[in-house]
């Protein structure tokens, strides 16, 4: 049953990264657009995401619940030591959600839209950065896991683990990934005249992802961050990253031929491969602190809890997944039956 729970943990992580990632990306693409294109993007994004965006963000709640029910000690480390970046993620999620509602549900469309728009764009950019920073901090090797808090300063325990070059680079890398996902998504949703905008944007995003990925790895190598050196040594990791890299070629081709389902799938698969590569590097030791490593498996709750959690997840999944699927299908976000 433990593996059922881990499976759901992985699925909700991947779905959150892809679905919410594309959502965050919408704001990022808008942020880095000319004023004219911002309007087009805003409209397109709403028509694509409107019905599903709330559902997209619930994956993080599922993720958090699985973690704290099933892997309490692991979760404990995250919430104690990464309190500050997680609070900032929270701020971003709140601001973003509110701004999204306001700009689409306000009864009057007037000057206040400008405020909502900026709130939406900035929080869309900041949230994935802090999410990435949190993920980076988990493996940065800067965390100090201790019982004796008084032996260390506030900064050593609660600030340095995430406020460092490596974590920040991971944050930027994740934001670029989000922008990449969205620009690919939008290519298929816009009309002939606007399509070149997003084709160009997806290329820029793709190049940014590659460059940032390269910088993250080089930084890790120079400063001998354990996660990065292991990342480069692990044959599975390297193969997954290489596979993701090779997929760029069919992706470029499918964009050129305007085959939107194929290009979306490819982009999604690329992102999944990168996340899997990062996870597999040190599995099951997903937290690499300066003084210890922490295994997600070993921090699992007792068997009875895992069993109940697993059953709840299976039952919940049976209800939710078809629902999500129909929602996407009904509003033509999945066009397999085309």
């Amino acid at each position: 049953m433990l593996y059922v729970v881990l499976f759901f943990l992985l699925v909700s992580l991947l779905l959150y990264v892809i679905l919410a990632g594309a959502d965050f990306g919408a704001g990022i693409v808008e942020l880095f657009s000319s004023e004219q294109n911002q309007k087009i993007t805003k409209k397109t994004v709403y028509s694509v995401m409107g019905p599903v965006w709330e559902a997209n963000h619930i994956w993080i709640i599922i993720l958090v619940v699985i973690l704290w029910v099933g892997f309490p000690e692991f979760y404990n480390v995250l919430v104690v030591y990464l309190h500050i970046p997680l609070t900032l993620v929270l701020l971003g999620i709140t601001m973003r959600g509110v701004a999204f509602v306001f700009r689409h549900y306000d009864a009057y469309k007037d000057q206040s839209q400008v405020v909502y728009d900026w709130m939406f764009r900035i929080s869309s950019f900041a949230t994935p950065i802090f999410l990435g920073i949190t993920a980076g901090a988990m493996v940065s090797g800067e965390l100090i896991i201790t019982e004796n808090y008084s032996n260390y300063s506030f900064a050593e325990l609660f600030v340095n683990p995430w406020l460092n070059g490596f974590s920040i680079l991971v944050g930027l890398f994740f934001a670029a990934l989000c922008a990449f996902l969205t620009s690919i998504l939008l290519i298929g949703e816009t009309n002939e005249t606007n399509r070149p905008i997003y084709v160009r944007k997806s290329k820029i995003a793709n190049i940014t992802v590659i460059i940032l990925g390269f910088i993250v790895l080089s930084y890790g190598m120079i400063f001998e961050i354990k996660f990065v050196t292991d990342f480069l040594k692990n044959p599975y990791t390297i193969s997954l990253v290489a596979l993701s890299g090779i997929l760029i070629f069919p992706l470029m081709k499918s964009i050129k031929n305007a085959r939107r389902i194929v290009s979306r799938t490819l982009a999604g698969v690329q992102v999944v491969l990168i996340i899997l590569a990062a996870l597999i590097t040190h599995y099951p030791y997903l937290i690499i602190a300066s003084n210890t490593e922490m295994s997600i498996i070993e921090s699992a709750a007792t068997e009875s809890t895992i069993n109940v959690l697993g059953i709840s997840l299976i039952v919940g999944g049976l209800i939710i997944l078809p629902g999500v699927f129909h929602l996407f299908k009904s509003f033509k976000m999945i066009k397999i039956l085309e």
């Binding site: 619930i58 919430v79 808090y149 506030f154 709840s312 209800i319 629902g323």
Partner: protein, 434 residues
């Protein structure tokens, strides 16, 4: 202010906000689907207009409720990591089911909001029903988790270890039913009176009277029925607390001396130094009867409990008085509404609408007061008789800044939502009469 107080304030503050958003998001879909049903049955365009404007309200409150709920799911861990570490595996089940119910709600709401003229009419309406039902299910599940903090069960606590964990037993803890029933009725009362009050004010101001009267009638019917049923559930809760958390009951009543045939105090000013209550109305033997169904039963007083297990007595007592006082008032006014259905002439009177307009916030005041009774009344425990709140708080210093930060965040959120709702109502009133 020390770390613990700051963390408690922040938690209280977030919950106070979340409860309002969550209740409205949970109850308003029911108003919406009734209006929708009436539109389908009568094809009166006013009902369509009403449905669509309520639907916007539902969307706004659902999303603010969802983000403040996401914030809470993080905050539980961020503020109380030690609590979550041990409680997570035990009460995780209602939380994971709540996640599922909430997800179903989001999916159904997606269908509902964007499904107009796109999916079959009846199915579209039905997705609205799912929104309402899954909202209520979420509420019940979360309250069940809170019930566990009051009535911990489903584990053995041996030498500081939580052993033999049984999540199903923890879910169906002794407090879950009374608390869930009380909260569900409270949510319907508070939202019913709030929504009805807003529409009553519009009628009082003579704006779009026909539409607002229809809206008023739907909302207040829910509110009034719930308000009239609430005392029954309150009685169940009181008897349950008397058994399980006698110190909480004593604090609610500011009952210091253990005695048989204990009187019930209404109102009064608590003097914690001398352990007395002045300026109260005293009903002989009533407390014994309400707590145990026996006029001569013994009710244990605060003096017979050690100091380190007592909550803040005046706060719990005053909050309890406010809750019961307003609850009684709303029950009476709910009765007036049903009388007014016979005496149609009242609907032409200004005082009638003004009365409901003034009462708009009262349901929520009572609801918040009720949560203060149950949460502050549980202190100093985070898990009753098992773990103290001070042992659960985060080791990270400087929580006071975190508190200020959330204060600003939720302050902005409130101003923003209020501003948005005013604009919705304004736009509704300015639109052409159908």
């Amino acid at each position: 202010m020390d770390n613990l107080d700051a963390a408690r304030l922040q938690m209280a503050f977030t919950l106070i906000f979340h409860i309002v958003f969550a209740c409205i998001g949970m109850v308003m879909p029911f108003f919406m689907i009734i209006a929708h049903k009436k539109w389908l049955n009568t094809r009166n365009p006013i009902y369509l207009k009403l449905t669509k404007s309520w639907q916007k309200g539902v969307a706004i409150f659902f999303v603010t409720g969802a983000v403040s709920g996401t914030a809470l799911s993080f905050e539980l861990g961020l503020l109380w990591p030690e609590f979550m570490k041990y409680a997570g595996p035990i009460i995780g089940m209602p939380f994971s089911l709540e996640g599922a119910a909430f997800f179903v709600e989001a999916i159904a709401l997606g269908f509902y909001l964007y499904g107009w003229d796109k999916i079959p009419e009846k199915f579209h309406w039905f997705t609205g029903v799912i929104v309402g039902l899954s909202g209520v299910a979420s509420g019940i599940l979360v309250v069940s988790a809170n019930g566990w903090m009051n009535a911990p069960s489903g584990f053995d606590y041996i030498n500081g270890q939580f052993l033999n964990i049984d999540p199903v037993k923890a879910f169906f803890n002794p407090a879950w039913f009374t608390q869930a029933l009380h909260m569900t009725l409270a949510a319907f009362t508070a939202t019913g009176f709030a929504v009805a009050g807003i529409h009553a004010y519009q009628i009082y101001k003579e704006r779009q009277v026909e539409l607002h009267k229809k809206a008023f009638k739907i909302a207040i019917t829910f509110g009034a029925i719930a308000a009239i049923l609430q005392p029954i559930s309150g009685d169940l809760s009181a008897k349950d607390i008397a058994k399980r958390q006698p110190v909480k009951l004593a604090a609610m009543e500011a009952h210091y001396e253990t005695q048989k045939g204990a009187p019930l105090y209404i109102g009064g000013i608590v003097d914690t130094e001398n352990k007395t209550v002045s300026h109260k109305i005293e009903i002989p033997k009533a407390l014994s009867f309400l707590a145990f169904g026996d006029f001569d039963a013994e009710v244990k007083g605060l003096n017979d409990f050690p100091d380190d297990v007592k909550p803040n007595v005046p706060m719990v007592h005053y909050a309890f008085q406010i809750m019961v006082g307003i609850g009684t008032l709303l029950m009476v006014v709910g009765g007036l509404f049903f009388i007014s259905l016979k005496r149609k002439s009242w609907w032409q009177k200004n005082w009638y609408w003004l009365l409901f307009a003034i009462l708009a916030p009262f349901g929520f005041i009572a609801l918040e007061a009720g949560w203060i009774v149950t949460e502050v009344g549980r202190q100093p425990w985070i898990i009753h008789n098992v773990m103290r709140t001070k042992d659960a708080v985060t080791p990270m210093p400087g929580m006071i800044y975190s508190f200020y930060f959330y204060l600003c965040l939720y302050g902005i959120l409130t101003v923003a939502v209020t501003w948005l709702m005013t604009r919705q109502i304004k736009s509704l009133n300015n639109s052409k009469t159908v």
